[in-house]
């Protein structure tokens, strides 16, 4: 268990490959703010399989060198403003993917194998952009057509927010099992969590099924409402008013900086 969110953010080195879940899953937004405050640089973000406000904020704050994702989406709020600006300006390297290929790359990593075959994709312009995908065939000869072979994706860090964790370092993610694959695939996983579970999550069969064992987790810290202003599945909805204010402010670089000043750098005002 780490002392606080800054101790957790310190575990993410500059240049790290960081896997992040989409907004409907478990987003460690407080950790994202701590990373921006720390001034982390040159991150290679992996959206699993897409990324939302976390990615947009980290890009806007200049923390990202490379973005690998199937999409950047902030749902009903519109196009991600900082991401859109960064693409236009060419300030980040974009690695466009497709959801199942990202999942497959992580699945290869969790199995400790070099690649995973995936259906579809042939004929998409995505294929031409990727030197980590190639076309192959079923070596058994049962399947006649081409298959795309996706190289394993091994994040340095998976960064997530969980509703619960216990003193043994286990984190409960319930049905949001993409975070389980992310944790299995990554070299380490950093977890912020809302509430401390008084007991052992692995001792209760019902909880254990949705629990990432401490074996995969390199550090945890409790941050109540740690997904705010994004929602957390089963716990709380997104802070609509705040996210609308973000969208309004982030329309310009100056506005985004003002948002960061008010909500990230002057953190007491925000939390």
């Amino acid at each position: 268990m780490l002392d606080d969110i800054d101790a957790l953010a310190a575990r993410v080195p500059d240049g790290a490959k960081v896997a992040l879940p989409p907004d409907y899953s478990g987003c460690a937004m407080a950790a994202v703010r701590a990373l921006i405050k720390r001034g982390v640089r040159d991150l290679h973000l992996i959206g699993v399989p897409s990324v939302g406000f976390q990615g947009d904020m980290l890009i806007g704050a200049g923390c990202v060198a490379t973005l690998e994702t199937a999409a950047v989406t902030i749902g009903e709020y519109g196009l991600a403003p900082c991401f859109t600006r960064a693409i236009k300006a060419g300030t980040i390297k974009m690695i466009d993917g497709t959801c199942p290929a990202i999942h497959a790359g992580l699945q290869a990593a969790e199995k400790g194998i070099p690649f995973m075959p995936v259906r579809g994709i042939v004929g998409s312009d995505l294929l031409e952009q990727r030197d980590d995908w190639m076309v192959g065939n079923d070596p058994f000869g049962d399947d006649q057509g081409p298959l795309v072979l996706v190289k394993a994706i091994t994040p340095d860090v998976t960064l997530i927010h969980a509703p619960l964790a216990d003193r043994h370092g286990n984190a409960w993610i319930g049905v949001r099992r993409e975070m389980m694959v992310m944790a299995h695939a990554a070299k380490t996983t950093l977890v912020t969590f809302d509430k401390l579970y008084d007991g052992d999550l692995l001792a209760d069969a019902e909880m254990a099924a949705g629990t990432i064992p401490a074996l995969y987790i390199g550090g945890l810290t409790q941050v109540e409402n740690g997904a705010w202003p994004v929602g957390l599945f089963g716990a709380y909805p997104a802070d609509d008013t705040h996210l609308r204010a973000y969208m309004e402010m982030a329309r310009t670089e100056e506005g985004f900086q003002a948002y960061v000043n008010a909500n990230v750098l002057d953190r007491k005002a925000a939390e």
Binding site: L79, T98, M180
Partner: protein
């Protein structure tokens, strides 16, 4: 007498008609109208239609995280899915990446999502894009996120079934790789559709009008469907149905 209805209600009703009789419909990100259509079709199915909506906690039976939709699709367990596109061309190629030269496109869309996979594997992919203008419906997309058709050696049980826009419905002819105008929504004309469509398509001599939703359909949409969709798309439900169920 025909009841008055909103454009979104017509679209929900029109798309739901394409789902009747199916077993399992999945809905991706940012899809309130297809989501509403699937929920309407389910409400009319007497419980036989399964709906799996991404981003929903109430209407999503997957227990294996983000991968399960894709695994199900590859096994043939998903009958229908929806895709959109910042650009859609006359061969049903879709572009969810951007306009201009990749990667520094002058207009950037969110990204390809699962399109490059699901378009191949789900038998009935309904293309849906409300905006029907020459900038969306183009002769040729700038970037192919997912192709409309594939060479015969590519495993492809799936593909485009129809294209629904705010003005009309097109069918897709896979053999010819061309759209065919099927019906024009009430209040719109064939001439207007031709003017606003940037790609060539087949046009029969007589083009019918998209059927208006029946009174009982509207009642279902405004009641049960509005309540159910509000969980995942609160802003949409509030705007179209004045439904604030999710805020309670």
């Amino acid at each position: 007498m025909t009841a008055t209805f909103q454009p979104e209600e017509l679209l929900i009703s029109t798309i739901a008609d394409m789902l009747d009789g199916l077993g399992h419909v999945a809905i991706g990100a940012s899809s309130p109208i297809p989501g509403g259509a699937a929920l309407l079709a389910r409400a009319r199915s007497g419980g036989s239609l399964r709906v799996s909506m991404l981003g929903s906690e109430d209407h999503n039976a997957f227990t294996n995280g983000g991968t399960e939709l894709f695994d199900c699709a590859a096994q043939g367990r998903i009958d229908a899915f929806f895709l959109g596109g910042g650009q859609i061309d006359g061969a049903a190629n879709i572009n969810l990446v951007g306009i201009g030269d990749y990667p520094q496109t002058k207009v950037r869309f969110p990204g390809s999502f699962g399109s490059a996979y699901l378009y191949f594997l789900v038998p009935r992919v309904i293309l849906f894009r409300e905006e029907h203008t020459p900038r969306v419906l183009v002769p040729k997309v700038d970037f192919i996120s997912a192709p409309g058709t594939s060479a015969p050696d590519v495993y492809r049980p799936g593909g485009p079934y129809a294209l629904v826009t705010g003005r009309c419905v097109f069918d897709f002819d896979k053999a010819q790789a061309r759209f065919r105008l099927k019906s024009v929504h009430p209040g719109h004309t064939v001439e207007e559709v031709a003017d606003m469509t940037g790609f060539d398509c087949d046009q029969p001599d007589r083009v019918g009008e998209t059927p208006a939703p029946a009174a009982e359909t509207l009642e279902l949409i405004r009641g049960r469907v509005a309540d159910e969709i509000a969980e995942t798309y609160p802003a949409f439900a509030a705007r179209v149905f004045n439904n604030t169920a999710s805020a309670a």
